[in-house]
């Protein structure tokens, strides 16, 4: 379930990933590419923030470590993507993470859903991991060299996230009556937010060859999830809500509180470095 040595290499790994890509003398992103990088970067940042809560609270120590691993990977992706977005107008990863308000965040609403019980976290994570595997696989072809490089690094890591979530999905679906009931409840709460990941926005028309069109990820996502659902005898709920809007800055009630916590210390000390 976890990597052979889930612990030993983590520090060097994670930090060098970010250091390698963060601000590496790259070409500045166009305004449109920057907006797109914020979509993906905010997804990763907000998810990492949610997962970080589990460290010291997991159902077992191995899972504290696995969720921390995933959170660290996602935080690395977020740092790279936000740094790249910032090159468009001279902002840093921290300017973007700590000094934008809720309506300026571009994460999908799925990312900001509450952790809930372990089943809710798992369903949210599985949906993202399956989505991100397809996304980063294709984004490696981007004509934006930085996005392509970030995607190449991230692809390997999200493949592990998918494996981890898939295994746990099986355990919860086929483990006990209680775990199956909790999984179904979580699916009912979380799944309606999944469809929004695949909505094409007008921005995509201006990013041909740079971005991956979200709608093209729908079929492989449905196929992977369909296979897992069939294998475990789970019926997936309808994945679409009438309204999404995360990519336009329309969020759930949860994001404001999440950002209040994330930003509180940095905002109390404008201009400080840490």
């Amino acid at each position: 379930m976890t990597r052979a040595d889930p612990h030993g290499e983590v520090i060097v790994d994670r930090l060098s990933l970010a250091d390698e890509i963060v601000g590496g003398g790259e070409e500045a992103a166009t305004a449109d590419a920057a907006e797109y990088a914020l979509w993906l970067g905010d997804d990763a940042l907000v998810l990492a923030q949610c997962l970080g809560w589990w460290i010291s609270r997991g159902p077992e120590l191995e899972e504290d470590m696995a969720l921390a691993n995933i959170a660290l990977d996602l935080l690395g992706h977020a740092r790279s993507l936000l740094s790249h977005a910032g090159t468009a107008d001279g902002r840093t990863e921290d300017d973007l993470a700590y000094w934008r308000d809720e309506r300026e965040f571009r994460c999908a609403q799925l990312a900001e859903l509450p952790n809930g019980d372990y089943a809710h976290t798992l369903v949210r994570q599985l949906a993202f991991a399956v989505f991100q595997v397809e996304l980063y696989d294709r984004l490696q072809e981007s004509s934006d060299a930085t996005l392509a490089a970030i995607a190449a690094k991230a692809a390997k890591e999200v493949a592990y996230h998918r494996e981890h979530s898939t295994e746990w999905f099986r355990r919860l679906a086929l483990g006990t009556d209680d775990s199956r009931r909790r999984l179904l409840t979580a699916l009912e709460h979380v799944w309606p937010y999944v469809g929004d990941l695949f909505r094409d926005e007008p921005l995509l028309d201006r990013l041909e060859g740079v971005a991956v069109r979200p709608s093209t990820l729908r079929a492989p996502f449905d196929q992977a999830m369909g296979a897992l659902a069939a294998e475990t005898g789970i019926e997936l709920p309808d994945p679409d809500l009438a309204r999404g809007g995360g990519r336009h800055g329309i969020h759930t009630e949860h994001l404001g509180l999440l950002l209040a916590e994330l930003q509180v210390l940095a905002r109390a000390h404008p201009g400080a470095t840490w």
Partner: protein, 328 residues
């Protein structure tokens, strides 16, 4: 998944195995390693299980004060480093539980004792983390003290424990460095940041000195542990080493160590330090520290809330094994 391997080593020993005892004494006298399959006195085994499991519990409870600041870390880089650090502590707990298991006590049993409030852990973690600078002070002082305590344990007579400590010490030195860096950055920052750093050092300094345990004349377990080559230096010797190490580092940081009696003693060549509040130490150890109930409640809640997840994983594993058997 956490299927703890069932213990294969008996927990009680026939204490009158003359050959075994002779061999054991020989190994200790030669400063060699005792391995899980070797005969060992029951008291040696018991002493080790107590020490290693307490150490493991400390790593696990010790995650909480720092996890408290992951969500609010003031930069993404600091957030990543802090997450990695707290994750390391979980790993340390796991290595140590594994080492203790080789002595015949299952991890679940040790963990249950922790959750039930029957086990001890380092009392330092019963203090609250009130600001970001506490992440610096903990890394510098608490991980720093842990290193002073643990480096000699890399030569402890029990093999699995010594080997676990080698891995752990490598990571602890990274922890101390990142703590020092947090404080250094704050001390080069705004007046508010400098005040934050000094405040954290003021609160963590004395408790970190008490991490080495009571003064030598009151330390109950020390003598025997030293005879068995588990412990190499006395509590007071280690504490002195730590203070000697801190003074120049505090100077480099520009923080003041909160001890008016701290002075260099020409005669001994060491930094003499003031009386520590051992009454407070005993109180915190006895369960009356600022966060004892909070830390235990947090661990218990995680354990109880996760029960259905562990049960699901165990049930799934059983079903998989049954299916594999049927197919075979």
């Amino acid at each position: 998944m956490a299927q703890s391997p069932t213990a294969q080593v008996p927990t009680t020993e026939i204490d009158d195995d003359p050959d075994g005892r002779a061999r054991f004494d020989e190994l200790i006298a030669a400063d060699s390693r005792i391995e899980p399959r070797d005969w060992m006195p029951a008291a040696y085994r018991k002493n080790l299980v107590r020490q290693i499991s307490q150490h493991a519990h400390s790593e696990i409870i010790g995650m909480q004060p720092e996890a408290n600041w992951i969500s609010r870390a003031p930069s993404l880089k600091r957030k990543a480093i802090l997450m990695a650090k707290v994750q390391d502590e979980a790993g340390h707990g796991l290595y140590l539980y594994s080492a203790a298991q080789t002595l015949g006590t299952p991890r679940d049993e040790m963990f249950q004792a922790l959750v039930d409030g029957r086990a001890r852990y380092s009392s330092i973690f019963n203090y609250p983390t009130l600001g970001w600078a506490d992440m610096g002070a903990i890394g510098w002082l608490v991980d720093g003290a842990a290193i002073c305590n643990q480096v000699p344990l890399c030569r402890a007579s029990y093999g699995p424990y010594a080997r676990a400590m080698v891995r752990i010490c490598k990571e602890e030195s990274f922890h101390q460095r990142q703590g020092f860096e947090i404080l250094l950055e704050l001390m080069h920052g705004t007046p508010a940041q400098r005040a934050m750093a000094q405040d954290a050092v003021d609160r963590w300094y004395a408790p970190s000195l008490m991490m080495f345990g009571p003064p030598d004349e009151e330390s109950v377990n020390s003598q025997q542990s030293m005879a068995w080559n588990i412990k190499r230096f006395s509590n007071d010797d280690l504490r002195q080493r730590f203070v000697d190490m801190l003074v120049p580092q505090a100077e480099a940081l520009g923080v003041t160590l909160p001890d008016p009696d701290l002075r260099f003693d020409e005669a001994t060549g060491h930094w003499a330090y003031g009386e520590l509040d051992w009454h407070e130490f005993q109180e915190v150890l006895g369960g009356r520290g600022p966060c004892n109930t909070q830390r235990l409640a947090h661990r218990r809640a995680a354990f109880e809330d996760g029960a259905w997840v562990r049960e699901a994983a165990a049930a799934y594993a059983r079903k998989q094994a049954d299916a594999a058997e049927q197919a075979a």
